[in-house]
Symmetry: C2
Subunit: 334 residues, 2 copies
């Protein structure tokens, strides 16, 4: 029987229609010829490969050193936003506009072309996360910045043509409705119940348990009750914390282990599907707030939102998050 389910925090609805769907193992599509294993570790015209540093802008962050880096963060040469503009709103007739100020970084995650987070060591993944923190802190310091979005596009269906392992960070002067509306719901919940809505949601996911992929002392990974698409995964810190950059050293190491495990389960279990992930933090200046909670969402791109999803915002999910979580729990990684 199909079912509507509501996201406890955002109040968005999805339709779970498993009768139409495949069993989790059906999703494991045949290995792509272009999977990472078949790619060279060095590609001469790749701007992100070690040895080709002159093809990018100067690094804004490197670890451990410019001459022998594992993580190298550069400005996006093809950025949609520019640093030297002024985001003051102005009117174009009756319509509101602003110059396209923003900061757009590319985080080169590894010197070698043939790696991806799922196949790196936990220590390497941890250094990528440390790079995110350093850059989020630097962007927060710009008075014009109000929101920092950290994300990763993996594969053509996820919107990237670049194979070299990388993620991106974009700082914007604007907090858009897509981000603001869930905040308003969270404030409402806090005023009503005196608790963070995400803390309450996490508590319920852990209590029900059948959608949990893994849990450590500080974090939990699960396929959410109202997952919009098959194998949507989320990682939350159990401790109430509104922004990612506030994580401590030990927490970053622990998160790196969990992220690497979940991505490796997706990589091996579903044969390296394309995916997006996003780290959502509170707007700049709201990182001490009691009603927001940072989290990470991983969205394998194995289905296509169509007219109904675009029109109604109600996503049809053909695989239950309970089945997806069980499949991922049972997927072994090397």
């Amino acid at each position: 029987m199909p079912e509507f389910r509501q996201n406890y925090a955002t109040k968005e609805w999805i339709i779970l229609a498993p009768e139409r769907g495949k069993r989790p193992h059906d999703w494991a599509r045949e290995s792509k010829p272009e999977t990472v294993a078949a790619v060279d570790p060095y590609v001469s015209d790749c701007p992100f490969c070690a040895g080709n540093e002159d093809k990018t802008t100067d690094a804004v962050y490197v670890w451990p050193s410019e001459n022998d880096w594992q993580v190298r963060v550069v400005s996006n040469k093809f950025a949609a936003l520019q640093r030297d503009l002024n985001p003051v709103r102005n009117l174009d007739g009756a319509f509101l506009a602003a110059e396209g100020f923003g900061i757009a970084d590319v985080v080169i995650e590894h010197p070698k072309h043939d790696r991806t987070l799922a196949t790196m060591t936990v220590g390497e993944v941890e250094q990528v996360l440390r790079g995110y923190v350093a850059r989020q802190v630097a962007m927060n310091a710009d008075d014009r910045v109000n929101l920092v979005t950290i994300f990763r596009n993996h594969g053509a269906r996820a919107g990237t043509s670049l194979e070299h392992p990388h993620s991106q960070i974009i700082a914007t002067p604007i907090v858009p409705p897509h981000v603001r509306y869930p905040i308003e719901r969270a404030v409402h919940h806090y005023d009503q119940y005196g608790r963070c809505v995400y803390c309450d949601m996490l508590g319920e996911e852990i209590r029900q348990g059948d959608r949990v992929i893994m849990e450590t002392s500080g974090f939990v990974a699960f396929c959410p009750f109202a997952a919009k698409s098959p194998f949507e995964c989320r990682i939350y810190p159990k401790r109430h914390l509104a922004s990612f950059f506030l994580l401590g050293e030990q927490e970053l190491a622990e998160l790196a282990g969990m992220l690497r495990t979940v991505l490796a389960k997706i990589y091996h279990g579903l044969h390296n599907p394309d995916y997006n992930y996003i780290i959502r933090s509170a707007p700049v200046g709201d990182h001490d707030t009691r009603y927001l909670h940072w989290y990470m969402v991983i969205i394998p791109k194995i289905t296509i939102p169509a007219g109904f999803e675009l029109g109604s915002g109600i996503y049809i999910n053909t695989t239950t998050p309970e089945d997806a979580a069980e499949f991922l729990r049972e997927t072994d990684i090397p």
Copy 2:
């Protein structure tokens, strides 16, 4: 210079970054081998071709007659929602859910497999619109229905594998946040200014004029100021009207002419790209409201939303709506 632009009605922002983009004619990708012209008018295993009516459920609407139909509406055999369920909300632990009640129609637009709205006659398109109206009226009459979404998926990138020309209508018991939030903004605008926000937006689009594709006495088609993607097109009635099904006979004929022209310009100018279109009406019971305005949005699927769009809700559009509208105005159709 990149620019932020705000949707006047919904308050959503987009980034216009034309430096990164292509000129409109660059988008006209090479003709696909599978374009409509190369397809047979009859395909023996297509459930929607005339002659194969036994492969579908019984028709809930036909025009002009069951034996010689142009438009035939049937229940979706693979519907995500079912008619015989009860949409009462219930709690699953702390989480809200409901049985998956809904009505899901498939509108078969033409008996022949090798047509699409862009290549049908205006009279044929008008009959498709009349089918929408009849079914929207019938769905509105079910007390459990609160929202009727009419949409069309054209091509694999738009989420359909079925070639035969068809659209879909889904009635849901739920008005989700994606639909409700813009309504709340529209109410706010009405209370503030005493006018429909969409009427005001239309007036400004017509006054500025450079994004208008075409205009008739009753309708206007344009690429909106804050278009989310290249060649996003919208069609609005000039007369304030909250729901599509309220259109009069003459208006339906006039709209059919405009819709067919805009789709033909996209078909010929951009070489039959995949697209979604959506007709958004007010929730059931709100069709007399002074603050909502039905409209149609056409979204060619020539770009892929990536992690930034999913995370922030801010879409990066690489082709200005001014350029897109000029290109479409100048595209000749046979």
